[in-house]
Symmetry: C3
Subunit: 340 residues, 3 copies
Amino acid sequence: MAAEYTLAELAESCRAQVRGDAGVRVHSVATLEHAGRGSISFLSNPHYRRYLAGTRASAVILAPADADACPVPALVVDNPYLAYARIAAMLALAPPARQGIDTAARVHPAAKVAASAWVGPGAVIEEAAEIAAGAAIGPNCVVLRAAQVGEDTRLVANVTLAERVQIGKRALIHAGAVIGADGFGIARDDERWVKVPQLGSVVIGDDVEIGANTTIDRGALEDTLIGDGVKLDNQIQIGHNVHIGEHTAIAGCVAIAGSARIGKRCMIGGAAGIVGHIEIADDVVITAMTLVSRSIHEPGVYSGSAPMDRAAKWRKNSVRFRQLDDLARRLQQLEQKLKD
Amino acid sequence: MAAEYTLAELAESCRAQVRGDAGVRVHSVATLEHAGRGSISFLSNPHYRRYLAGTRASAVILAPADADACPVPALVVDNPYLAYARIAAMLALAPPARQGIDTAARVHPAAKVAASAWVGPGAVIEEAAEIAAGAAIGPNCVVLRAAQVGEDTRLVANVTLAERVQIGKRALIHAGAVIGADGFGIARDDERWVKVPQLGSVVIGDDVEIGANTTIDRGALEDTLIGDGVKLDNQIQIGHNVHIGEHTAIAGCVAIAGSARIGKRCMIGGAAGIVGHIEIADDVVITAMTLVSRSIHEPGVYSGSAPMDRAAKWRKNSVRFRQLDDLARRLQQLEQKLKD
Amino acid sequence: MAAEYTLAELAESCRAQVRGDAGVRVHSVATLEHAGRGSISFLSNPHYRRYLAGTRASAVILAPADADACPVPALVVDNPYLAYARIAAMLALAPPARQGIDTAARVHPAAKVAASAWVGPGAVIEEAAEIAAGAAIGPNCVVLRAAQVGEDTRLVANVTLAERVQIGKRALIHAGAVIGADGFGIARDDERWVKVPQLGSVVIGDDVEIGANTTIDRGALEDTLIGDGVKLDNQIQIGHNVHIGEHTAIAGCVAIAGSARIGKRCMIGGAAGIVGHIEIADDVVITAMTLVSRSIHEPGVYSGSAPMDRAAKWRKNSVRFRQLDDLARRLQQLEQKLKD
């Protein structure tokens, strides 16, 4: 059974203004294009404005500029996407909270599991690990020796936390994530490599989300640190000793090399790369597939991907790229010649 | 014990012409270079033509143009690689089909598992999940609440299907894949991020293959859709609300951002990136490591990677890249000067 | 309880010269910046030289050139990072070796597990698999039919080894790695794809390390080969039939397409891509995010990423990149004009 609210009630929860009938009742969220009776929709990305006039939603969350064009009752608010996020959370049915240790889980007698935590079937909790109140360790997750999971944190399924890793409160860690594998530390000995022991750990703050199959390595000597409120998408790789500042959001497939320091409130686009031992200031935005090859000291937007083209055209331009320095010198010579 | 066929029998199965002794018997496949007696080989990539003259295969599958150069009996066919695929499948020993629920599996009493399906050791099937006839849920896979697995679909091992995900028939999902994790939906609230509930699901068609550690996110409001016959390699990331058209093939490590729409029969090269909210037409080919940063409306081949060079030379050219607009303007000025 | 050594003892183990009091005792390793009494630190990356003067370490491992500036006793050696790796391994507490088959493991009666091996809770070992002496199969790992794990090799947790895969001695395979999934072999049949059976396997040498969520595909007909001493970071994708030469080190998120041959002692930077069917000579270094699109026959350093810039500037230069061939032709015309 879903929750149901009047527009007036929803308006109060996100400080919106109601336009039209405040007594309209909604029980679900939907897109402008496909909403039906009883659904509330939202308009945030202008790309979807074309669906507003024809929407069959019972109500729409939108910005003041779009209010006049709305054919149905509306919640008017400065940040419609944020208001939508709040309302969707109110309307969504929370999965039923589970408690206790499943009979098919394997918890070491010297591990501590809070009474209100859940340990699902197939989950393995090693010696000295700690699972705090309200936490949920999903099916087939592995929590190795002395790792700590904070209150109300959920590991979805098949997640691995390595030895001594610490996860804060209210984290959501999606399936397949691996937190605390050894950093890539190797020292050359003639033609061979000698492993450098990875003795640090990973410390993750509160309210962090970590995407599916994302990996965060333990520090070499000190800890890899992920600040409060950091949001990590899927398949991100974070090397040893990296620090990520609070409320930074990183899109999928980003690769961050060891000892990089990333500031607060940054936004890193998908498949970007960040080389090791550099610093990125607070409030920096990196666009998709950019290689950050040096420190960034000023906030702002930075890019560095190769522009796409028809393959035949791209191939010709690529050949010229490899002659660029020569072309530039020849241009200088012509300029000199004309000046003389 | 392997299957054994005469060339005549194999020719019939793939509509090939036999050249030489049609009674030759083969029981295995091998490369031209390393084949021995009883093996059938194939020539498709011209790179390997140099091994044809010296092959010790009992027979070779090849195109008409190569038939004269073949020192042994041959199956002549327009698409040797396709014929090879069919013949290799005939000769390969299928792993023994298993049925029933392993005693070390954990199936919720309110899940439905067909009598002819197999649920391996350590696999977890949650409430209301459905496993159709002939499906195989490998060791330590996790199928969360109300997810559905179609007939004859195989999840190899350590795969996670999240709540309500639907997989079609005859899919093959390799180890570590995660289908249905939350999409990366976050709304900014001053300096923090608020999670946007991900209420859609993932719907996957028939005859789809999904590589190891690939991740496909559930939709925000509607479903992420993967069409029939789509082939996905390893470590691909597919964001929420993405649609992938039928028979599109995507190589490893491709990152596809949310709400991208990809057409039918496309081929996407390894480690390419596709930004969100764009459309790619049918029959588009993207080469490796290209960032698709805008919609593509015409079929064809598109590229966009940076050309490789000796590092010293690349570094000089890179500096010039950062001056390119300036260089172009100076060239225009020279042209103007010479005209005047 | 940690091990404790005198400087003299440590010096002997890594052929270092002692400078200062050789009787100083150390029991742990730490960074120059944060070391305290009883810790030994090291100076290798010049970036951290600024912390030398103020260090509170009991001793420091460093190169001859830095010895005079060291305020505390020192171990002087040509390769401080290598000496540090050795000393850290001496001082680190090895996790207690475990033996036997956990009661929550599931080992097929026709699998062979050495008496001194450990099979952790939730691990699944299928028929005909072999686990050699001293090996450790961590929690929830899956070893499919006839796969072989060499002496003293450790699979951390949630690792999958597919059928017939062979792993050498002393390997360390981090959580979530998948070895032996099918290569991406598909043959086009009009608008559909036909799967090409992947009949080879993966053969991995001795002393190999494989990072978290890294995937290595089985060969199509022959085997994918990883040489002795190869070190692979996290989230690397290695396609079918790839050969990687001994002692090559590959950083995170590298994508290697099928049938590439990579030499010995190479170093591949993070998120680089290597296209299929090419060869890379021994002792080649590839920098981060480079696409290796053709064979490399000479040792040396190769690069190919797009240079990062402020987004506004990068956008202008990108437009010019797409005009590069035209710009180069216009430059030639000007040169010709001036010559005439």
